[in-house]
Amino acid sequence: MGSYASMFSSTRMMTSHGEERRAYWAFVLPAFLIYLFVMAFPTIFAIFLSLTNYKGGALFGPKRRPVSIVGFQYYKQMFADKYFWLALKNNLWIVVISVFGQIPLGFFMAYLIFRGMIRGKDFFQTVIYLPCVISTVVIGRLWKAITAPNGVLPDIIRLFNPSYVAGNSEHPMIAVLLVILWMYTGTYLIIFLANLQKIDTSVIEAAKIDGATEMQALRYIILPALSGVIVTSAILAISGSLKSFDLIFVMTSGGPAKQTYVLSIYMYDTAFKGAPNYPLANAVSIVMCIISFALIGITKAVEKKFGGRE
């Protein structure tokens, strides 16, 4: 009787394990296959394509064109191209405006709202974040019209300086950077405000009763409490700079004279402007992937050190 029961239970366990495994894969596989097809495969495929001379046409099937491996030829071409370096430099400018513009400004506003015990906190937060939720195409086209030589910005400058003559700017990247500052600062306001509100205000009040000035409270209580968030935000801003495409594509398309190129636009133009140079575009893609993965590694290390963001 006893052995019968154990036999029964063991067969039941076995079918249950089989069912468990089948159920697991039935739930996991559909999503995972799509994910592999859309994100993992293109990444690996890009490594292959960057080492070949593939410049378009069918890769598979009866009409396929022969493709040969040419090694690092296109990487050499890329590193020899001054526009690659210009694009990289502009990406770095975006990092600079994010880290030294958006983050301090976002922090400053969040701090004012937090310490000022302002009424209408939600109002300020909602309105300042607004540019971020609107389609980048709308924002880019709007700013293109505002900053055009016959746009409204020259009109405004003329209010203060009547002799101003609108022409093409010598540094077209400045306009792009200012729009980026305008558009994304709200993100950091929200991140900092949410984290400031986790600080126990009674600690600050106690310090002030003991004679601490506002600056001391900021220096010794508030900033240390936010150090993890500030570091993560900085990394977010660095990796975010690699993501800039839409705004610049719509606002300047990388022009005039490629002066506002960033890596993604450089890559897009090599692939789609004139004769497609896919190997070069894929080489750029690999460089961006390497930067991106390096940043992921740094983020993980920092999160470990500061104990995460949540």
Partner: protein
């Protein structure tokens, strides 16, 4: 004593006024360009050229009518709704399924599969746009709705699966185990226990996904070429490109692009800002 207190409260008042002044200044800077856009969308092009800073001489509603007709925005909005709805629903279903399996069914593969999604959250999409374009092209999906939807779903999955899995981990295992002992199959448990209980994370996910998909431009601009497959942002970009100096209609078309998202934001602003502060937005 009272003299000192007056001094402190006067200082505090000045501080308050300054704080409000600075914040109001920033608020004005944030909305002024958008208000300017709204005002100028009612000007005729001549009116705009003569007077770029002021109010319109008369409100020229025709800009909207003409932009709507000539820009084919009816088709684009329907396409955008299709892309957004299908992507969001697919991501919700697939994320819940994966989240359920990762959090409630033991399997030694969970570690690396789930880990690969976590990497996917942080990955820069821009870096794979060209290879993705080539892949979509090679499998014959260029300029089809499916060729847009599959990448959209694949890109949204990492964040969706991450949020669902983390949420479902907090649902007690005992619920699943007792249902199993009662002989319930996994699909039943998924449908009648997990999905209803994961509704809150589903809402967050849906809101983030809707705004992300609705505004997406880079991929769909690259993956489609015909009017029947373009979305609203791509439609605006190509309509704006076809106008050279007709600013009235340009601004009206930008307003057509702005209004749906503005309404969505006003309704769901709490959930959206919560998502941003949790770092759940892939900007």
């Amino acid at each position: 004593m009272s003299y000192i207190r007056d001094d402190v409260s006067a200082k505090r008042k000045i501080g308050m006024v300054l704080t409000y002044a600075v914040l109001i200044l920033f608020t004005i800077l944030a909305v002024a360009p958008l208000l300017w856009l709204a005002i100028n969308s009612f000007k005729t092009s001549q009116d705009y050229q003569m007077n770029r800073l002021g109010f319109p001489r008369r409100f020229f509603w025709q800009n909207y009518v003409q932009a709507w007709q000539r820009g084919h925005f009816g088709i684009y909005i329907i396409n955008s709704i299709i892309y957004t709805a299908v992507t969001t629903i697919a991501i919700l279903v697939l994320s819940f399924m994966s989240g359920f399996a990762f959090s409630k069914i033991n399997n030694r593969n969970t570690k690396w599969i789930y880990g690969s999604y976590v990497i996917g959250i942080l990955m820069t999409l821009q870096s794979i746009m060209i290879p993705l374009f080539i892949v979509i092209n090679q499998v014959g999906l260029y300029d089809t709705k499916l060729g847009v939807l599959i990448p959209y779903i694949g890109i949204g999955l990492p964040m969706g699966i991450y949020l669902s899995t983390e949420f479902m981990k907090s649902i007690p295992n005992a619920l699943v185990e007792s249902a199993r002992l009662d002989g319930a199959r996994y699909f039943m448990i998924f449908r009648s226990i997990m999905v209803p209980m994961a509704a809150p994370v589903g809402t967050t996910l849906a809101i983030l996904q809707i705004s992300g998909t609705w505004n997406e431009f880079m991929l769909i601009n690259m993956l489609t070429s015909s009017m029947k497959n373009k979305s609203l942002p791509v439609g605006i970009q190509s309509f704006a490109g076809s106008l050279s100096t007709d600013y009235g209609k340009l601004f009206a078309s930008l307003m057509i692009g702005l209004i749906p998202m503005l309404i969505f934001y006003i309704v769901f602003r709490k959930e959206i800002t919560k998502g941003v502060s949790a770092g759940a937005v892939k900007g």
